[in-house]
Symmetry: C2
Subunit: 406 residues, 2 copies
Amino acid sequence: MQAEIISIGTELLLGEIIDTNAAWIARQLTTIGLNLYYKVTVGDNQGRIADILRNSLRRSEVIITTGGLGPTVDDVTREAVAEATNRDLVLDEALVAEVAGFFARMGRPMTANNRKQACLPRGAHVIHNPVGTAPAFAVEQEERVIICLPGVPHEMQYLMEHAVLPWLRARYGLTGVIKSRIVHTCGIGESAVDAQIGDLMHLANPTVGTLAHPGQTDVRIAAKADSEAEAEALIAPVVSELRARLDEYIYGADGETLASAVSALLVEHGLTLALADGVTSGELNLALSQGAQGRKGLVGSLVAPGVAALLEALGLSTEGAPSAAAGARAAEAVRRLYGADLGLALVGPDDPTDAAAGMIYISLAHADGVAQAEPRVPRAGPSGRGWLLHGALDVVRRHLLGLEIR
Amino acid sequence: MQAEIISIGTELLLGEIIDTNAAWIARQLTTIGLNLYYKVTVGDNQGRIADILRNSLRRSEVIITTGGLGPTVDDVTREAVAEATNRDLVLDEALVAEVAGFFARMGRPMTANNRKQACLPRGAHVIHNPVGTAPAFAVEQEERVIICLPGVPHEMQYLMEHAVLPWLRARYGLTGVIKSRIVHTCGIGESAVDAQIGDLMHLANPTVGTLAHPGQTDVRIAAKADSEAEAEALIAPVVSELRARLDEYIYGADGETLASAVSALLVEHGLTLALADGVTSGELNLALSQGAQGRKGLVGSLVAPGVAALLEALGLSTEGAPSAAAGARAAEAVRRLYGADLGLALVGPDDPTDAAAGMIYISLAHADGVAQAEPRVPRAGPSGRGWLLHGALDVVRRHLLGLEIR
């Protein structure tokens, strides 16, 4: 069984907006064991969309389109499906009434254009859309199916979850599932992870692979099985093995971020944290506040560009270059300023991306003193920022877990 | 002349990483007047990539692929191009020497796998890659061309700019250009912009359209012409007209953000700004620090969750709910704390996304007093955050330009 996704919209094609729908659909299809082999993006042009659909019908059983179902002249998905499957368009009066009902509930006027949205290729199955005005539909053609969904992400997601996935399972007797678990590590590089778990990467089911991010290495375990429970049973022992081998480097799994893991640890230990941030321009505070625990545990930040401005704002003397000693003073001062249990300071050169300008010091003040991480060499770019954020958060995580600070 | 982009990589297909290359290439192609009609994503599978290439060769003159040029067994773009164009792969010894040179310069060992990267389809033109290890190439086939670029964004971009675009211009005698200008407004909604400039949206060349973002409405002007100068000449009077009509709402154009515009105004006026942030968790500081002026003008932030924590950290008494008066005290206090010319305070409910919990107050302390913006109702979600950030930045912009604060 082969599936493909067709994203329709000139703005997607020209890169004016990023297509997040296709990635979301791809992940959903893998959960029901459908293999996705192609993803095509095409502009709002009936002839070209129809060409693409004819191509897709030759090679794939399930074709899912997004976009082009609105009321304007640009929206031509209905016409293109009719053309590609040699059908005419017919007005579905029941659907007109449904769309009219939606507009009435929203207190908005229904225009003549909206009737166009109820014109579907002859024989199409309507996929009722209670969360928007664009009716979706499916057309079966010689054991294949074209499923047309709106481009608005929340409408598309609602219809996939409530209508399309259940229908595909039933229609094609899809009993297989693919489940995956992602185990997140920090403070250890991809090659060191490879060295620890290389043998597991030769397993056939579940498969095990690594994926490197700045400051974080993920291990992905994916199992194919007849049921979710069976897939879970295949995955669980591998996760246990990973936990045994990578142990203190593992901070969480799946949707968890290091920031949310640290946030949860703070709440669990009933401790508060304040930040003296001379390096990340507030990004560390923002990351910590976006975890599942929200802003709990985090009592605030003092942010300033560079060590001198930071120490001055903390009421400290500002002599000297960034150093572990300056970091310790800042960490203790911000801990006092906010009356927090922990004070984390990042001090570094005025340009925290300039490797030649000096080191970045991460210091954590707590009730019994100050812990120092190994100084970091500044790195530029988004990956440099991610690497530093993870390094700083990992200092807090290790302190809270009683692990050695590195 | 028809172009298409093929993005190669299973991780792109499965939505594990977002494809930003295709959007970037799409924008570059429009600048040389090449029309992009299709964008296809395919996994790391030689047969399927070859199928896609055969399809593309039937309909498009210029085919650009990204990805699959690395040294691992997963990297099969070279093999797929050879298959689709009925060529064999031949080792290019000069290219081996070039790759070896790159590794030598980086002080990294070259493996046997890296030799594979120098095996190209017979007759391919090498596109030399001084910024990475993956050699790129182009294969001409019956008046059509397949151009294969690496997937690493900075390598791909370098090769497009330095080799591919100049080559395409010369090879196909492309003299037409499409140029666009984007004018950014803030503090005015899309429908109000439409009402001001609706007549301009009927122009044929340049075309004029609007695009709404949280807290910001863009106007895009796009012109087709034989040269950049001609296109500019078509665009300029429309931009002047927009400036006349939208005047104080326009903060910048093209790549400029409101944060960078505010940052530039601070530097231009020789003024410094400090933030008392009880609402955005440091995001406002981060946004301001990411403009072209970097951290100039911005002297720091005091960040705390909620008004009580913020006032306490500023050494102020913490009685009372969020209010304009509390905002004014925080703005003045943070201005003093950092010794800044301007102090901007955001105070609001402990949950700054809860519309029922009270209003958000934006206050700007300056040498002559405190300016207050109209209180904002909290809004949830990323668009609510964007709207609030733009609102706060616009207060500073309007103050610096001597405009009424709203």
